[in-house]
Every structure is written in C-alpha cells, then in structure tokens.
Amino acid sequence: MEWVQQLVNGISLGSIYALIALGYTMVYGIIKLINFAHGEIFMIGAFVGFYAISGWGLGFFPALLLAMTVCALFGVIIERVAYRRLRNATRIAALITAIGISLLIQYVVIYFRGAQPEAYPNVLSNRSFDFFGAQISSQSLMILCTSIALMILLQFIVHKTKIGKAMRAVSHDMDAARLMGINVNTTISATFAIGSALAGAAGVFFGVYYTKIEPLMGVIPGLKAFVAAVLGGIGIIPGAMVGGLLLGVVETVVSALGYSLWRDAAAFIILILILLFKPSGIFGKNAREKV
C-alpha cells in the first residue's frame, strides 16, 4: 500500500504547485506577462505565516489568512508600481522587469533578516492514520483539503461573480471589456490580488510541509509552478490545477522509484517535452495566438 501513500504525498505537493501555478496563469491570461516575481510572493507568504505563528502565536488558519492578505496587497502594489506602466511596452521589457522585481524582493528580505533559514513551527498536529493500509499524515490531508477548497472558491469567483466575469472579459479583449463599462485597471489589480493570495497560501503550506524556509525558497517552486502552468496550458485556470497536481505526482513517483536526485530535473524535462510536442499544454487548443 506504499503507493497510495506516495500518491497522497504527491498530490499534496502538487496542490502547492497548483496554487502557485494559478497565479502565473491568471496573470498571464490577463496581461500576457510571465510574472517571475511570483515565486517571491510565495516566499513572502511563507515568512508572513512564520512570523504570525511563531511570533504572534496565531493558529494555522488565522496565519494563513494573514499571509494571503499580505500577499494580495503585495501583488497589487507590484503591479501598480512596476507592471502597469509597461502595459504597452514590449513583452521582453516587462519580463526583464519581472526578473528584476524578483531579485529585488529576494535581496531586500535578505538585507533585513539575513539569508539563514528558519524552522517552521508545528502548527498542524501530525498524526498519521491508516487508510486502507496506507499511512497518511493528517498534515498532508489538511493541506490537500484546504488547497482544494481554495481552488473551488477560485472557480466560483471566476465563473459566478461579477469581478470574475470581468476578469475573463478583460483577458479576452481589453477594449471590448472597456466598452462594457469594465474598469480594466481594477480588474487587473483584482487578478494580481487573487493570484498572489493563492501563492501566499502555498507559501504557508510549503513551510508547514517541509518545515524549512529561507529567502531564496521561492526560486525552485516558482519555476516548477511555471512548468506546471505551461504543462496545463498557460492562461487556462483548470490547466494550472491539473498541471500542478500532475507535476507533484511525477516528482514523488520519481523519488519513490529511487531516483530522488532526478526529482528536480523531472520538472524541467517535462517542460522541454511540452514545449517540443505540445506548446499549448494539456488543455490548450493548438490555436494561433490571439492578437
């Protein structure tokens, strides 16, 4: 029954990737920018959660909520300060800016608190229980359930609320959206807020799950979540969810088969294969790019 256990681990890890990937894909969907600073938002989320739990003694859910709120604000500010003025600039200019912001956040955090890692406090009780013979930890189950709840909430927002409809309209055609009376700037801010909040949640989950955080922790999960978003089809929300889960499972399986040194490589091999054979991703139609 070990494989059930591995599968649950893989899905838990995958749900963290999925939450980060959602922000990449939503931002790409709306302004066609790969926000490379997104991994740093994830890191900020982990640290806010850390200080909230170990500094202020908050519980898991209040800390999660706080991290999500701070990250949402952070995402909105980054867009407002850095990306908005580049909206009509070339894509490469925006991309380079995103990389610049990413480095800036990393080193500002290091400047203020140093580069040393921090041990994440134990906020979730970690009993394991028996599930058809497999040992499942309550922690990974909790992470999994909360991520799924967040993803369902996201689907609800995107499909049923006014702001969600505005987001989809803006991502398809900004001028036509303006003609409907949609405020494009507000809608883009909302997209950054939601995507960043999800990354913040992922940061807290990551801290709880791997128990170690540090200022450069956003780089690799950020890149992997980017791979997950491309795997699912960049710009497609269910694609990011599926891509993230799939990547988590693949990594866990690769480790479980005894190739744990290949774990990180697996993600990038997937990226290369996807870009070679189906650049539009699992859910993407092989359509021409919209102008």
């Binding site: 409809k165 309209a169 959206a177 003609l179 494009v184």
Partner: protein, 233 residues
C-alpha cells in the same frame, strides 16, 4: 444629443480624423459612410472613449465627454458595437449578455435578457454555447444584444452588416429600425451605403479623415457623387 466639433484624432503620427464635426439629434438614425480607411471606426472609437481626441470638443447631452474613459462613457448611455463584433469568445452567449449589463444595478437584467432572446430567438437556442463557436451572423446578433443590455440612449453601430448573407442583412436592418423606434438614437457606420441610407434620416460622408458631404438621407441617395462612389453607379 451629440455634438462633435472639430476633433482631431491621431494614431501615433497618423492623423486619422481632421477637424471632424457631426451632430446627432435625439431619436434619429444617422449614418456615416465612406471608403475603407476613411476614419469611420476611428470616429466611433473616439465617441465611446477608446481613443482620445487631440483637439475639438464632444458634447453629449450638453456635457463634455471628450477624453473620458470608455467605462465612464458607457455609464452615460452610449453603447458601442465595435467593428468585427468583438464578442467574448471564451464566454457563453448568456454571459456575454450579462456583461452587456455590467454597468446596471437594477433588477430588470434577467428580464431584459429574455427580451433580447425574443428579438434574437437564435441566441436563446445557443445561450449556453461559447460565443466563439457562433456563426458570424449569430455573433453580430450577440454583439447587438449585448450593447442593448446596457440600455443605451445612443447606440453606435460599426458595420453591423459586414460579412452577412443578404437575408441576414435585411433582418439586422429591420432590428436596427425597431431599436430606434423603441427610443434609442443610432449612429450607424456602414459599407452598405444603400441599406444605410434607406433606414437613416441623415448622413455624413467621410473621406480620408474629413467630412466631405452631409445632408438628408434622401438628398444623399440622389447625389451623383454618392451614387458613383458608394452606391455602385
């Protein structure tokens, strides 16, 4: 209702509208005709706020709207059906209609969606379908239905007959007249000058960014210049 006075509009260095003045009175259908690239769409985009004029004034219901943001202008009662329909292909027919009512806060929205379905029964059949999968004619109906959902006082239509079969053109024009009879003022851009002049009260002819001729639809239909340039002899 709408008074445009001497507006200049640029795309970068391209001077697309040169001192254009037009007027639309409440209740009228006014048409703009002109060759490709004359500046008709540019004028509509400037009226709805997608473009900003460099000089000149735009008075709508005695208030200046020149340079205001599109999302502000639509709230004042101007709806623009853009060239090429521009429906939200990634959303269903019904969601497109709901977005048309984005600026409204009243409780009549669902009722008005049903009214649009009465006008365009085809849209009712397709209401759960992604609008990107509609035919061109159906997308045109949707684009018009979506604009009506905002309850506009002034409707700007950019080539509603483009790419439609003759029978469909006739239907669309009948609907345009109906919308007008129900109290909406219409500014209509058309390649099909013949049809446009048959429903309009007045018209303006635009050439390379300037208004070169204006008059009642009847006079324009009779004019030799118009006949040879836009009515095919």
């Amino acid at each position: 209702m709408l008074k445009v006075d001497g507006i200049d509009v640029f795309y970068g260095n391209i001077h697309a509208l040169k001192g254009v003045s037009i007027e639309v009175l409440e209740g009228e259908i006014v048409t703009l005709i002109g060759a490709n690239g004359a500046g008709k769409s540019t004028l509509l985009k400037t009226l709805s706020g997608l473009l900003k004029p460099k000089n000149g004034s735009i008075q709508y219901e005695n208030k200046s709207i020149a340079g205001k943001a599109a999302q502000t202008i639509v709230k004042t009662g101007i709806s623009h059906v853009p060239e090429g329909r521009r429906v939200f292909a990634n959303m269903t027919v019904e969601e497109n209609l709901e977005l048309g009512a984005y600026v409204r806060k009243d409780k009549q929205i669902q009722k008005d969606i049903q009214k649009v379905y009465e006008t365009f029964p085809r849209l009712h059949e397709r209401r759960k379908q992604l609008s990107g999968t509609l035919s061109g004619g159906e997308q045109q109906m949707l684009a018009m239905g979506r604009a009506i959902m905002a309850k506009p006082k002034l409707l700007l239509l950019d080539e509603p007959s483009m790419g439609l079969a003759p029978i469909m053109v006739k239907t669309i024009f009948e609907i345009i007249e109906d919308i007008n009879k129900n109290g909406t003022t219409i500014l209509l851009v058309e390649q099909n000058a013949h049809m446009a002049l048959s429903v309009a009260k007045r018209g303006y002819v635009i050439e390379t960014g300037r208004v070169v001729l204006t008059g009642s639809a009847k006079d324009l239909q009779a004019s030799e210049e118009i006949k040879s340039a836009y009515l095919g002899g």
